[in-house]
């Protein structure tokens, strides 16, 4: 709440410099630069296969980039695994949510970050915090002690988002969060993203839809075939500009 959204020359919380990543012969990311600031929502849009999920993978520590640097608060870091990224305050909600269906809601929320009392897990603290987090998201689950396999897809998404919010991360990555949502749910989701920005989080959202995120994003970065193909001010850019950048058609 302390930094005004548009103060110039702020150090980005998270930035990529010349990051590349290939899978065999397929070049998923080529020389990508990207900055995300506090109190900012950056939308990354692009067609299927443009490299959006790879970008989230690299930023969350799930994938190792081949070249380029990742900086947190201006300092180069190596996100060798997801736990390291979490430790630096970067949390992700993956497209497939990455929940363990056999574990219950509490177990999923705290997986990898469980509080302990002595050698044993502190179930009471976890359960209390679970209710608080889910309440914050206005998420309705029948019980936090049911396995995730028993939840609806909407409830599962709430669990995944609640997990990302655990421990107040500074950067929240959301990979294709609107892909399977109805219109009302998209509206609800955008409200949530706005709340995250107000609370000072830096938010990076990916989508293959050009219009879903425009209302909430501050900047829109277009990825095309693994490369940055334009960066736009979300308030001013037109649908046609975005479409041209996404498809690579000259205007």
């Amino acid at each position: 709440m302390s930094t005004p959204p548009s103060r110039p020359a702020r150090t980005p919380v998270l930035s990529l410099r010349g990051v590349s990543k290939s899978f065999g012969a397929a070049r998923a990311l080529v020389d990508v630069d990207l900055d995300v600031h506090r109190h900012e929502v950056v939308a990354v849009v692009g067609d299927t296969g443009a490299g959006k999920s790879t970008l989230v993978g690299v930023l969350s520590g799930a994938l190792a980039p081949e070249s380029g640097t990742v900086e947190v608060d201006g300092r180069p870091v190596t996100l060798s695994d997801p736990a390291t990224a979490r430790g630096l305050g970067i949390a992700a909600v993956f497209q497939d949510l990455a929940l363990c269906a056999n574990l219950d809601v509490v177990e999923n929320l705290f997986l990898g970050q469980e509080p302990v009392r002595g050698p044993l897990l502190d179930e009471v603290a976890m359960e209390r915090e679970s209710w608080r987090l889910l309440g914050q998201l206005a998420a309705r689950v029948p019980s936090v002690r049911v396995p995730v396999s028993a939840l609806s897809s909407g409830q599962r998404r709430s669990v995944a988002i609640a997990r990302a919010l655990l421990g107040e991360p500074r950067v929240i990555l959301l990979d294709e969060p609107t892909a399977s949502l109805g219109l009302t749910q998209v509206a609800e989701f955008l409200t949530l993203v706005e709340r995250l920005r107000e609370r000072g989080h830096a938010v990076l959202v990916t989508s293959h839809s050009l219009s879903d995120l425009q209302a909430v994003a501050d900047r829109i970065v277009v990825l095309r075939l693994g490369r940055t193909n334009g960066e736009f001010d979300a308030d001013r850019v037109t649908y046609e500009d975005l479409l041209a950048a996404v498809t690579g058609v000259a205007r």
């Binding site: 990455a98 929940l99 056999n102």
Partner: protein, 398 residues
């Protein structure tokens, strides 16, 4: 804010709830305990010697060694992996104990520790190879089975059999050591008191945190049930020789594993990796460490099982830890209710599973039916358990 409403336990009660939990396998080990009682009653009708204290003492003592091995299998099954070499590792451990203490003249303690170290090493190898290269464990441990069995034959040497002296403490521990009645009852009292304290304290913390807390009746029922089960078991076995030291060790290990699986971060990681390894990795679970520790625990328990088997037999030979042992241990874990698909199960399935198998075996022997019937019946029970497990899995997913 409707805290009360939120913290209510969902409508899980009543007959429909019980049936749905049975159908999806959320009931825990209780139904299997019922099956065990049923098996006991059937054999008792067929042969009144079956439920005699003498026979039950033998049954518990015969279960212990393979039960310890099955406990390791339960851990690997939690990861959705299987170690086919547990029998072979137990055989090698038996050989190391016997040859080390008798032929090489090591102190018995050193020989036992060396045997356990063999288990640790084998597990380290499996775990790191699986974690780094991703070789399917059932093939890799099959290779391990051959190598380890070869080593066992080499260690035993040309005679192929080494006897342990009857006065060796290991043999006494496994054959004739029983907990004195006073010690048994003290243990029962201690376990019940600790369990009650944990329950009461847990309840108090939950009430303070405004979470759904079990009723006093529920707490009382659980503590009472535990006290009754333990007291009846100790009193009845006490009519004969009492609780065997080896069996007590086995049950202690089961309790330890149960707490580790349900109440520690390690256990949670194990179940997460078994449920969805990639999701667990992305949540920050250290996959390699989980794989290595589980395989080490499994092989070490297998080695301990082999040491106990050698003590009980007072010998190690080429038949120690034969394929039969591996199959029985895996069957016990599965019959006990641990899922072969990973991520679901309980340490108690090692105890319940091995007791089911051993009951069938002992019961049929009392009826003077031979090995052939025993294998067929045990196989059918295993098939039933696997089918039930698959049906429950399907019910959960629908």
């Amino acid at each position: 804010m409707s805290v009360q409403a939120r913290t209510r336990v969902p409508a899980d009660e009543g007959a429909a709830g019980v049936w749905s939990r049975l159908r999806t396998g959320e009931t825990g080990p209780l139904p299997l305990a019922g099956v065990l009682v049923l098996i006991g009653l059937v054999f008792q009708v067929l042969n009144p010697a079956f439920l005699s204290a003498d026979n039950l003492v033998n049954l518990t003592q015969q279960s212990a060694a393979t039960g310890v091995i099955a406990l390791g299998v339960v851990l690997t099954l939690h990861l959705g992996q299987v170690d086919l070499s547990v029998g072979a590792v137990s055989g090698l451990a038996a050989a190391v104990v016997a040859v080390g203490s008798v032929r090489a003249g090591w102190p018995l303690v050193v020989a036992v520790l060396a045997a356990l170290a063999v288990g640790v090493l084998v597990g380290l190898l499996y775990g790191s190879v699986h974690a780094r290269i991703g070789v399917p464990s059932f093939v890799f441990t099959l290779a391990g089975l051959l190598v380890v069995t070869g080593l066992q034959l080499r260690v035993l040497g040309r005679t192929g059999s080494v006897n342990l002296p009857f006065q060796a403490w290991l043999v006494e521990f496994c054959q004739t050591a029983f907990l004195p009645a006073a010690v048994s009852w003290l243990l029962v009292a201690a376990v019940v008191v600790v369990y009650a304290l944990v329950r009461v304290r847990d309840r108090a913390r939950r009430v303070r945190a405004d979470l759904a807390a079990p009723s006093w009746a529920d707490v009382g029922l659980r503590v009472g049930a535990l006290a009754v089960v333990l007291a009846v078991a100790v009193a009845y076995l006490g009519l004969d020789r009492g609780v065997g030291a080896m069996f007590a060790l086995f049950v202690g290990l089961v309790v330890l594993c149960d707490v580790a699986l349900r109440r520690t971060r390690w256990g949670r990681f194990v179940r997460a990796v078994g449920g969805d390894a990639e999701a667990a990795r992305r949540a920050g679970v250290p996959l390699r460490r989980v794989f290595v520790t589980v395989f080490v625990a499994c092989s070490t328990l297998a080695a301990l099982g082999g040491v106990l088997a050698a003590g009980r037999l007072a010998a190690a030979n080429q038949a120690s830890g034969a394929v039969d042992v591996t199959l029985t241990a895996i069957a016990a874990a599965v019959i006990g209710g641990t899922s072969i698909y990973g991520g679901r199960g309980s340490a108690w399935s090692a105890l319940l599973g091995i007791l089911v198998i051993q009951s069938i075996s002992t019961g049929l022997t009392l009826l003077t039916l031979d090995q052939s019937v025993r294998l067929v019946v045990t196989g059918l029970v295993l098939a039933g358990a696997v089918v039930l497990g698959a049906l429950q899995r399907r019910a959960r997913e629908s």
